[in-house]
Subunit: 338 residues, 2 copies
Amino acid sequence: MRATRKDSTSSAANSGELDLIRHIRARAGQPSGAALRLGIGDDCALLRPRRGEELAVTTDLSIAGRHFRLDWHPPQSVGHRALARGLSDLAAMGARPIAAFLSLGLPRELTISAGGRPAWVDSFLDGLLQLAATHKTPLAGGDLSESPTALADIVLIGAVPRGKALLRSTARPGHSLYVTGTLGGAAADLARLAELQPRRIAKKLEADLAPHLYPQPRIVQGLWLVRHGAASAAIDISDGLSTDLAHLCQESDVAAEVDAALLPIHPAATLAQALNGGEDYELLFTAPANARSPRKIAGVPITRIGRIVPLRQNRPAITLLTLEGSQPLNPQGWQHFS
Amino acid sequence: MRATRKDSTSSAANSGELDLIRHIRARAGQPSGAALRLGIGDDCALLRPRRGEELAVTTDLSIAGRHFRLDWHPPQSVGHRALARGLSDLAAMGARPIAAFLSLGLPRELTISAGGRPAWVDSFLDGLLQLAATHKTPLAGGDLSESPTALADIVLIGAVPRGKALLRSTARPGHSLYVTGTLGGAAADLARLAELQPRRIAKKLEADLAPHLYPQPRIVQGLWLVRHGAASAAIDISDGLSTDLAHLCQESDVAAEVDAALLPIHPAATLAQALNGGEDYELLFTAPANARSPRKIAGVPITRIGRIVPLRQNRPAITLLTLEGSQPLNPQGWQHFS
């Protein structure tokens, strides 16, 4: 975390940004965890992995109006969700988080407290640092700049025993397909959120909308799968089952069958939301058919939803099996730049 | 580099972003360098440092209108400068770059080629990947999203022998103060750029304005200083000598004297630009007074510009010595959020 550098289009000098950085540095606390040797305050942070470990690295960009809305989402939720996206990527590799970095671009008004209320950025940090503490992830650095659009880019670094990371590219025909938790809850919440008037969420509603506002990355479940050698491939479900399963199949050069009757659909969600709704942040993983998977890992249900099959010409990459017969399941998650 | 996740405010599905990611993945090439085990295409990249190494991590946010201007800077320069900022942070620690990650937020029109001209993003990648190739730094991942404001967050990861990283906090009274290269060139270019009509830079001017448009991070010089144990502390000059020397003094709990007559001022720059102009990306380092520093490292001049002294109450942290006497040198680099 440093003062953002001299600007190409401005020349004023002031101390406001350094104050905000000092504030974040104080809130982030001292480096904790043996892997983080040097945190905020130098040109770089320094990480020292254990012998026999490799490092997993992921970055996730959250932009106002695309990934969150300032008029819908409480700032605590924006901070929580920004970090949850990165943690979920580590979970999908089975990695233990060792450090987070935050690049923050904010309109000036979001950094100012007024009328006795904390500044937006303070509540954002509340949400982010609370989830970071849950997963013992120190905030080790980042960057800060004024920006016309609010945005947060989160970098997560995790450690995993060499050669043991869960990959997307190692699913094989015959393997069973599993998911953690339930599907479609975040999409159902989002649909409900869009109908609220006013859309600013009352405190009493926040718990109800937790699957969307405060998703729980499956770090513990990913670590369990690596420790027990229980998964042959994995991905997190951030863009929706149909899209993320397509990624897994593409990287593994296989096809898949999903049994609609087996899907653990969230009580508030429809089948379509369970298949295509994003931001559930559950894990999708495969295991050899003869492997015994537990019914729960650390309290979260594990459900077999289908199987991996060979990829054949003129056959869909993913087939959905229902009582009415089988049909192709096309990826329907969101992508930009159409 | 992945498809950006399902959006909280949109529901369309399309393949444009995946196409752009495939394009970047193809341009980034296969992972190279023993340290990068897995690049673009999974939930995380995987890095495997050598035994006895620790990792340096830095993030740098570049935002249109703050760090560059779409109507002034050629896209190649924007890509070059975004990466140069991160590489310069590694240089300041004496780290060898092993991987870069790029989070990119772009208005749609910057992703579209028209009239036979390549899309803005393609020329941006030209500039970024050319500098990455110079420093053997693979692009290992990132994120991508449509954004109303163009922005690039760059993450650099470097390796350095354990305990050997150059820090800001280890300068001691009596040590000499050095800089690489010349100072003020980037600021002088920027002043010239602001006077150009039209401001869009003609190809023939680009070489002239290289200190600002294409700064050269001092990776080789940082590695040399670590290998020879030749520096006691270091920082890169991104915000201007006065500001970055103040950071070094603050982190080391010392003061400094700078001799104006010794400063290696860029031929086109004024003393004020050399003292306060940002974005030179030279290294500022200290060494014990009895150490012999080379006059050049890999062709880049090394100049002694002053010394570290004890911090005393009621004395300025930095004193500028001139023929007319001594005066306080206050940090005058740019910071946001005044």
